[in-house]
Amino acid sequence: MRHRGRLLGDTEHSTILCHSSHCCFGIWNQSHGQLQAVMQGCWGSDRDGCDSPACKTSPVHTTGAILQRCLCRSDFCNANVSQLG
């Protein structure tokens, strides 16, 4: 069973059926206590730590920004963060 992922493009929210894996990903920009989705889609591999059905994020401290990212494996699991890391 393939999982559907929430897809974020530049102008509109849509969905995508993950063909090459069961894994969705999501990336959010965290600032002033708010999360803003930056990228969402299908991840190409099931074996990169994509075990959780829910989006439990971990933070990345890049230059000038804190990003939250998750890999998860259930329909639209990447639509919302279920647990902030």
Partner: protein, 119 residues
Amino acid sequence: AHWQEKRKVSRQNRSAGPQAYCRLQELTVDLHYDFIIVPAEYIANNCEGSCQRPLSARIPHYSSHTVLLLDMQERGTPLRRSPCCVPVKYSSKEIIRFTGEGMQVTTYPNMVAVECGCR
């Protein structure tokens, strides 16, 4: 695997029982770099185990050079670097990385060990 090799297993090896011979083992690596966004970890694998004669019976990837080094050791000539179990084939990995212009999907080569050999 081009070198003629006698398939002789020394008495020592036989009595020691089956040894962990050079082979691919699963290894997960953290990607906690500030420029890597996704994934946070991946299965990179590693090559582990000993390299001993006879190579031909145990592993498909070995060179004449390795057989000759092992023969030298067996004849009692010490080597400054013994044959070692290493990746001989890698595969690539897609990474979402953070650049000055934003996020970018990049395929990095030689990220995952897929075959091992004695060199």
